[in-house]
């Protein structure tokens, strides 16, 4: 079964990174009228690569404070946040571009849904494999 869990790890890591990105984009939209707020985002591909390579900073894994604890693989690594390049400057120093944020948040939600569908399909495949010799 190690094969199944390693397959799932890639998808679940992608899923938690998508959730994290939704949070970042929601923060940008929430602060669309805040003076001097700088819009932030992270490179999903890069974050995914560093999460899979175990090079994440901090990480979201389980902390082991006792030798009896089980080490958790972690649902992903904390991504590097970067400031978004400014397209149109505003007088109040805010760099949130609503069109960009809206487009990105829609894309991110769609990718999240695709991932949930992929995980479901994989589980469905497993279920079919289990029940195939029972008829």
């Amino acid at each position: 079964m190690s094969d199944l869990s390693s397959h799932m790890r890639v998808l679940s890591q992608a899923l938690s990174l998508r959730a994290e990105r939704h949070q970042v984009l929601a923060s940008n939209i929430a602060n669309a009228d805040t003076p001097n707020y700088k819009a932030r985002d992270f490179d999903f591909t890069q974050a995914m690569q560093s999460a899979l390579g175990g090079r994440g900073l901090g990480g979201l894994g389980l902390a082991r404070t006792d030798s009896g604890h089980q080490g958790g693989a972690g649902a992903g690594a904390r991504p590097q946040l970067q400031y978004r390049a400014e397209v149109q400057s505003a007088v109040d120093g805010n760099t949130v571009d609503m069109d960009v944020e809206r487009a990105q948040i829609s894309e991110n939600a769609l990718q999240y849904e695709i991932l949930t569908r992929l995980i479901s399909d994989r589980l469905q495949g497993m279920r079919t494999a289990i029940s195939s010799n029972q008829s």
Binding site: L15, Q23, I29, A30, D33, S106, A109, E113, T116
Partner: protein, 135 residues
């Protein structure tokens, strides 16, 4: 689960925007109040937004730090018959700029709507997560 933070972030933005809408309503209602509770003409009120960290390093919400009085001078209208007129016949009207307030109102309402949409997207994403493996 970082998606739960989205509710806090977008919720804080909705609170902030409704406070801004409150200030606009107060300003428009008192656009002609030449005497307020302190005996002076009413002064336009403006809210000040500030980005505030909210759980984790990626979630940034909004809060209203203070409500300030608009520093612009009162609108002087020549009306010698008015009992509130000074010795030259001028009446000090509130410094409320109606056009400014109307654009402020539209901006606040649009921002509020966008945040509701972000919240709904997060909700859909969470429901999709709950449906993993169910079909």
């Amino acid at each position: 689960m970082s998606l739960f933070n989205v509710f806090a972030v977008s919720g804080s933005a909705m609170t902030a925007q409704s406070m801004r809408l409150n200030a606009v309503a107060s300003n428009l209602a008192n656009a002609d109040s030449i005497v307020s509770s302190d005996g002076q003409p009413y002064r336009a009120k403006q809210v000040v937004f500030e980005a505030t960290p909210m759980g984790g390093n990626t979630a940034t919400g909004v809060r209203v730090t203070q409500v300030v009085n608009d520093a612009s001078p009162p609108r002087m209208v020549y009306d010698p018959k008015n009992p509130a007129a000074d010795e030259k016949g001028y009446v000090a009207f509130p410094n409320v700029n109606v056009v400014e307030e109307m654009t402020n109102m539209i901006s606040a309402s649009r921002s509020y709507q966008t945040n509701v949409e972000v919240l709904n997207t997060a909700k859909t994403m969470m429901l999709r997560t709950l449906q993993i493996g169910q079909g």
